[in-house]
């Protein structure tokens, strides 16, 4: 960690302008940034503190949906009564993320900017090759310890996993990221690594996440987030599923279904093939299990992470069936 300047932004506009300068980064909860600075990945010259800015931590909910300010804390959102009742998957994803201490510090905007846990990315002094850190330098993970790496959305340049929980739930319910006046669907906000794994988000210098908007839907109201991992708490997902379900009035036929995966892909992963295969079908275990296999279509393993390909469809199927039972 090297010396940096600390700047306390006076307004959102001032923050955006200050953070656009070379070497400057926004500081919110700091739970990722300080960590990355300590391990030598982030080397900011200036940190622009936005934590005190007014109005950016609001949570507004009406019939159309929820707008969550970028500075709302993970813990507050998880515990918000209307989020729990109208978007249970969002609340559950947050509750199962990180630890209580981190949830109390970390913000929703910062959560979207969370970076991979790939050990090769996080250890520059020992692993010089990392296309995410140094474009063109290569990938140390391929051929290395890959138990926690992605099986979906990978490229020859990068197999780093997107580790977050919240974003999977956001992707499932067509959330939109507010970058000031610009709006961008959260599915488009996260980028596939392709040949440019260093570019993770569709955000440009001078832009700042101001809010996340989640449209209301029947599927969101009847939703869940199922996270599977070896340790019961404070571990990233081996595989997880954000699922929302709306049934026809017969109580058996699937009208709307939302499925997104965490813990298996290079970005939060919407499994539209599963959704399409099941819409209009009667919700039955065998049908659901068969369709859930489509969640990992095109998956490629790197040895030790093969289990994710087996595991992810089972997590999806369990989550859908659990929602079905709750009818």
């Amino acid at each position: 960690m090297r010396d940096f300047s600390y700047l306390r932004a006076t307004s959102a506009d001032a923050a955006r302008q200050a953070a656009a300068l070379p070497g400057a980064m926004l500081l919110a909860g700091g739970t990722t940034l300080i960590d990355l600075a300590k391990c030598g990945v982030a080397e900011p010259d200036t940190l622009v503190d936005i934590t005190h800015l007014e109005g950016l931590d609001r949570i507004e909910i009406d019939e159309r949906g929820a707008i969550i300010g970028a500075l709302a804390r993970m813990g507050h959102v998880a515990d918000h009564a209307d989020i729990k009742s109208r978007f249970p998957a969002i609340s559950e994803a947050l509750w199962q993320a990180a630890s209580a201490q981190i949830r109390n510090m970390a913000t929703i905007g910062g959560n979207l900017m969370q970076r991979t846990r790939c050990p090769y990315f996080r250890d520059p002094s020992n692993f010089a090759a990392c296309n995410k850190r140094e474009p063109g330098s290569g990938c140390s993970a391929i051929g290395g310890v890959t138990r926690g790496h992605a099986v979906l959305g990978t490229s020859e340049a990068c197999i780093a996993l997107y580790p977050g929980d919240l974003a999977a739930a956001l992707v499932a319910f067509d959330a939109v990221v507010h970058l000031g006046d610009r709006r961008i669907p959260v599915d488009d906000f996260f980028l596939l690594p392709g040949t440019t794994p260093d570019k993770e988000h569709a955000i440009e210098p001078g832009e700042m996440i101001t809010a996340i908007e989640i449209p209301a839907s029947a599927a969101a109201r009847r939703s869940t987030y199922l996270k599977v991992r070896d340790r019961q708490s404070y571990e990233f997902a081996a595989a997880s599923a954000a699922v929302g379900l709306e049934l026809e009035s017969d109580g058996r036929t699937i009208r709307d279904l939302r499925v997104a995966l965490g813990g298996v892909a290079t970005k939060p992963w919407r499994a539209r093939a599963v959704e399409e295969a099941l819409k209009g079908k009667v919700l039955e275990p065998e049908t659901v299990r068969a369709a859930s296999l489509l969640a990992v279509e095109g998956a490629v393993d790197h040895g030790a992470n093969h289990y994710k390909i087996e595991l992810a469809p089972r997590v999806v199927a369990r989550a859908i069936l659990k929602l079905g039972e709750a009818a």
Binding site: M1, R2, D3, G40, R117, P119, Y120, D123, S125, N126, F127, G143, G144, V145, R147, G148, V228, R229, D230, R231, Q232, S233, Y234, E235, A238, H306, Y307, E310, L311, R314, V315, R318
Partner: protein, 770 residues
């Protein structure tokens, strides 16, 4: 610089189930150091504030094997605040110190910074600066170039070979091979445990400060006198010139017993700069700055009758060690004593790999040994169709099968009975996959554990002060196990004062000496020493009261007097009733002081030095007529999600024989800690090596998983011990390491019962069951 005194009276809590005083030996007194730790008042070693403190940061090798070609430190030297860059060329020369057995060292220099690299993460340089941040920044500027050679990354490396036979580990009787060949039932399986790490909450570090040729080191330590000796030998100063201070220790688990390379670096820097220097390892550095538990491999073959009676055990073990150092993890230690067998053979090899030399971690040897034999006996139980608990009783060892001596005490049968009863073992259905709850397969497993009673020596001073209070001093330590508390209880009961009136001072090598706090020996040793010192102080007090002409008791011509709750009376109550303070005042004494120790009588000064600073003279657990061990039986319930492969421990009942408990509340706490650590070992913990780089990649607490509260169910412990007079002065046996032994096999056995899958490689992660 004073050690924080802890007055029992400020923190008296707890309950005495048997109606005894909570502050007496055997009472459930809460930890007297607890409030200081919870409120932050406890000042740990490296929190010492010193004038002119400088900060050192380590630079570590990024290759696992080869040579340092050059170190370019120009940029670092020019960086703001940098005082010194230590490299193998610039660091002062030290002498090699004796090992912990006290073996005279080779007469050659010791350099804690390496030119020859034998593992990734080896210390190659250090930067000292005015501030910690400046040192961190400058350390990143040190450019080290290497000539790399192929590394042997672990036991499975093709280059590793079969290793070095360790003849001292061979244990054989009967004809194990022949008996196995002719046995009607035979099982043979291989069991592996990975590298595991102690992961204490407080990382390793120190402050070193020279004043002339006197060195003071504030450092978390499990063994002040042993570490002081090492520092003295490194720097060529008399032992008395080195003072170690370690008032509190934030967990050790075996890793803080020895002075380590980073200590030599910090003390060298302090000497070179003439300033106190602080060096604290990063969490990542704690994975390579010293050794965790060595990876092990065992094969266990058992030949038995159809009724499950064992005829032969053949055991072969291998553990890894480093290229230059030697660590033997005694893998046959439980194998050779747990069950009666007429024929037995155990041998062990050690394989050199490019890692830091492994070290002691909670029950070294016994822990992996039990994973092998306690898994294998479970496999035998299924092979012959006998209940896993019943087969253990059929093969119960009535005496030590190896030493052929009587057990001092062995309440293992009682442990099986008490644990089984409480757990409800009789309701278990024997077939694997026969117990289910929704998506969860339920499994019940049992395993036994044991740990030898290691005995060493300690001494203590007990002072009865003018105000009637009692002061205890010892250089032993409290790393959370409760030394402050049980020594206060011992002194209070022995002298006859209330707990409020005892102050215990530990963690300073200026105090009377103590051996290592490791191998579960400290409580037995130090309660004995304090008991002896307190008895002698009490004798002096009563002697004064009876014989001093100024004493109010002088006219009474009594043979003895009674001291209780700080007051002195005649046995029949027919005389004066005075406080200790009043008596001391009347006879004109400011204090009474007595030293007590557990050393053999007539020990020479040299013997004493050796006893406290090495483990060479520790008594074997089979010394004399008896074989001394703690014992336990673990009963575990797991729930395995069949689709996901996830294992959750849902119930643990353990019955344990640690002899007499000095403080049941603290003993239970240590047992539970061992069980929790065992759950981590069974399900989560593994140092994962990148095979191309020979480097541990999960070197942080987000990726090296230890259990969280959510992973731990209610744990019930039952004490089945009885006082063991052959094991310690007050009748206790070891507590701290016992309970981790046997937990991993109990869980693996429960997983087999749940799923029908036998997992022989720890940890049992979900992909092994999916």
């Amino acid at each position: 610089m004073t050690v924080h005194n802890i007055r029992v009276g400020e923190t008296k809590r707890g309950d005495a189930a048997d109606g005894a005083l909570v502050e007496a030996v055997g009472g459930r007194l809460s930890r007297v150091d607890g409030p200081a730790k919870i409120t932050g008042a406890a000042r740990y070693a490296v929190e010492q504030q010193l004038e002119g403190l400088a900060y050192a940061v380590l630079v570590e090798s990024t290759i696992a094997s080869g040579k340092v070609r050059a170190i370019d430190s120009k940029a670092a030297e020019a960086a703001p605040g940098v005082l010194e860059v230590l490299t193998p060329d610039t660091i002062i020369s030290l002498r090699t110190a004796a090992d912990w057995f006290g073996t005279p060292p080779p007469d050659k220099p010791y350099c804690p910074l390496a030119r020859d690299i034998t593992f990734s993460g080896q210390h190659v340089a250090a930067v000292v600066a005015e501030t910690f941040e400046q040192a961190v920044a400058a350390a990143a500027m040190v450019k080290v170039s290497y000539g790399e050679t192929p590394a042997i990354v672990d036991l499975s490396d093709g280059k590793a070979g079969d290793g070095i036979p360790i003849d001292a580990m061979t244990k054989e009787w009967g004809d194990a091979a022949a008996a196995f060949a002719s046995a009607p039932v035979r099982i043979c399986a291989a069991y592996n445990t990975p590298r595991e790490y102690q992961a204490p909450m407080e990382p390793h570090g120190l402050i070193a400060h020279w004043e002339g040729d006197h060195l003071t080191v504030w450092e978390p330590s499990q063994w002040l006198d042993g570490m002081a000796r090492t520092y003295a030998e490194w720097f060529g100063v008399p032992f008395e010139n080195v003072r170690l201070v370690s008032p509190y220790v934030g967990g050790g688990f075996g890793s803080k017993a020895l002075a380590l390379g980073h200590g030599a670096i910090a003390a060298s820097a302090a000497k070179m700069l003439g300033r106190p220097v602080r060096l604290v390892m990063t969490r990542a550095q704690t994975f390579t700055g010293y050794g965790g538990r060595a990876a092990t491999r065992q094969t266990v073959t058992i030949g038995a009758d159809h009724d499950g009676k064992i005829q032969s055990i053949v055991h072969r073990g291998v553990n890894e060690t480093s290229i230059e150092g030697m660590w033997v993890e005694p893998l046959g230690s439980v194998t050779s004593i747990m069950y009666a067998t007429p024929n037995f053979s155990s041998k062990q090899n050690v394989v050199r790999v490019n890692s830091v030399v492994p070290g002691a971690m909670r029950a070294p040897g016994e822990n992996p040994s039990a994973f092998g034999i306690e898994s294998a006996i479970d496999e035998l139980a299924y092979e012959v169709g006998i209940d896993p608990l019943e087969i253990r009783l059929r093969n119960y060892a009535e005496q030590d099968p190896h030493a052929k001596k009587a057990w001092s005490t062995r309440q293992l049968r009682e442990a099986f009975a008490a644990g089984a009863e409480r757990f409800g073992w009789a309701r278990r259905t024997p077939e694997p996959r026969s117990m289910r709850d929704g998506n969860h397969l339920i499994g019940w497993g049992v395993a036994a554990g044991t740990y030898p009673v290691r005995r060493a020596y300690g001494e203590a001073i007990v002072r009865i002060l003018a105000d009637g209070s009692v002061e205890v001093e010892s250089s032993s330590i409290d790393m959370g196990q409760g030394t402050y508390t049980i020594l206060a209880q011992t002194a209070a009961e022995t002298v006859g004062v209330s707990g409020d009136d005892v102050v215990v001072k530990l963690g300073d090598s200026r105090f009377p000496r103590a051996g290592v706090s490791g191998g579960s020996r400290l409580a037995g040793v130090m309660t004995g020493a304090v008991y002896k010192a307190a008895t002698s102080a009490l004798d002096q007090l009563i002697g004064l009261a009876i014989s001093d002409p100024r004493s109010p008791f002088h006219a009474l011509q009594a043979n003895t007097l009674v001291v209780a709750k700080g007051r002195i009376t005649a046995p029949r109550g027919d005389g004066p009733d005075v406080s200790i303070a009043e008596l001391l005042k009347s006879v004109g004494r400011v204090h009474i002081e007595a030293t007590g120790d557990t050393m053999p009588a007539n020990s020479s000064a040299e013997d004493r030095y050796k006893n406290y600073t090495t483990i060479a003279m520790a008594l074997p657990h089979t010394e004399g007529d008896y074989s001394r061990h703690s014992w336990c039986a673990h009963f575990v319930e797991v729930r395995v999600d069949e689709d996901f492969g996830t294992v959750r421990v849902s119930r643990v009942v353990s019955a344990l024989d640690s002899g007499r408990l000095y403080n049941p509340k603290l003993a239970e706490s240590q047992w539970k800690g061992g069980i929790i650590m065992g759950i981590g070992q069974a399900l989560l913990e593994e140092g994962i090596v990148d095979r191309r780089h020979g480097r541990i990649v999960n070197n942080n607490l987000a990726d090296y998983l230890v259990p969280t509260n959510a992973d731990i169910p209610d744990i019930e412990t039952i004490s089945v011990g009885i006082p063991d007079p052959h094991s310690s002065v007050l009748g206790g046996k070891g507590v701290g390491e016992l309970a981790i032994v046997g937990i991993a096999p109990a869980i693996a056995n429960a997983v087999f019962h749940a799923t029908g899958k036998r997992i022989r490689d720890l940890p049992i992660t979900l992909e092994k069951l999916i």
